[in-house]
Symmetry: C2
Subunit: 308 residues, 2 copies
Amino acid sequence: MTERLRGVVTPVLTPFTEDLRPDVPRFVAHCQWLLSQDSGLAMFGTTSEANSMAVEERMPLLDAVIAAGCDPARMMPGTGCCSLTDTVRLTKHAVQHGCSGVLMLPPFYYKGVSEEGLYRYFSEVVQRVGDAGLRIYLYHIPPVAVVGITTGLLERLLKTYPGTIAGMKDSSGDWSNTLTFLDAFASSEFDLFSGSETFLFATMRHGGAGCISATANINAAAIHRLWVEWEGPTAEAQQIRLNFVRDTIGKDYPMIPALKSVVGAFRADPAWATVRPPLVALTAEQAIALMAELDYLGFTWPGLIRDE
Amino acid sequence: MTERLRGVVTPVLTPFTEDLRPDVPRFVAHCQWLLSQDSGLAMFGTTSEANSMAVEERMPLLDAVIAAGCDPARMMPGTGCCSLTDTVRLTKHAVQHGCSGVLMLPPFYYKGVSEEGLYRYFSEVVQRVGDAGLRIYLYHIPPVAVVGITTGLLERLLKTYPGTIAGMKDSSGDWSNTLTFLDAFASSEFDLFSGSETFLFATMRHGGAGCISATANINAAAIHRLWVEWEGPTAEAQQIRLNFVRDTIGKDYPMIPALKSVVGAFRADPAWATVRPPLVALTAEQAIALMAELDYLGFTWPGLIRDE
């Protein structure tokens, strides 16, 4: 079994060609760059527009990254779909590639489903994958999936599948929820990742494992630095600077198109801006304004903020 | 091009085998019975647990129903997925089979998406399917999908794709919303179906086309009778009796497991009760209580309520 993945993990943006096919070479290059920035890879997350792609479009992207020599021990691909069978298929594929873990959404079509129903769903996935090397990180993102992970559900799953249920990503955006889960579950056997670097310092202080954050697509090195130095004297200052960047992108612009626009600008590769509907790319005016705001912050590729 | 589908249309329940595979023979038999009850077939709706199945599990079910000799002119399969490419694939498959139309959810993973993003999504689907025979019925079900269809979106789509955008199913459960859409759009070229027979009489009075209702899985004949006789003297009395059955099932029990339980009871075929997680089948106690309540109403298979 591979080592556990901790620290900064990026839900990798998925570049698309003009006719909206996943752009394999650009995707591989971005993954390689993220690894060089000390980030793990949670390809196929919300930021990746993964649910806007068919299962058959996702698997070749993972194949390509592995074929390019990237280390699967640094990967936890997103594999949770509405359909049990799709989830099992993607999870088996990731396990066969030797990925460190998988990031798993609950089935998100039906709302108001019971804890029992979710327990049965995850149980069925574990049993069908049937591999001792499987590590599942549950993905709690109620602002998008609406269906979430409760402490009761997690307790039951951990009791039945210790080791396999390896952790959780909390993208609730609600620190009190993250703290509840940290207090109840954080341990060397259960890794909690905050869903944004905004809570990285606080998460580490309370026994968490790191963060899995959209903004890491452009700022992984600086987030990683805080992860390494969180007990040091500059941690709070670093956190504040990270928040400036995060807020600049996420508060005034739609996060995914904004991040793609920034990657495109820094790489001088406007093709990066393409998104799949129902998302919509930034307008030219928005893209220019965003870069001006980042420039004002002193934000420079590859994601380092000038020290004051 | 086939005739337009109007009247009662059933979002067909999907039976599963013990190991949770779609049960093709039971599915075909149920479709044949529904057609004999004067219902059209909207297989792969919410009631069908369609989003709990992979694309590869859905297509063979449609193939089997067609192969069994059922008339595609009586079908509008659900084809809307989160992924553009999945939606296009399922829609092409339905069009190639000569289905009267398709029932299309908006992409439902991302929340708070713009009207422009949804417009681009549906435009892309129409253009990629590229078939003059395509008829899309937009599927508005905000209690489940959260992402909905607005009047502004519909106006734009109808202007660009008249004929192709053929109608809508309104499962908002909100009569004032249905009335808004009926007043604005109902015509011989735009068929509005209410998402429940509860609003059938009112929908017909305001120029609608019929209803697409979960309960039609067990009560299609009686719902069809109201659709035929809605201008007659017993219409309101019929509506009240339909509501008794609907409310008995839907208010105290989870709708999909309850309907599967009733079908199983009437067919003396308990295998029908199986659902895919995250749904959970009724308990034995619930199943018995539900049948007692239906019996008290005088509800008898094949879905006729005794005349008083």
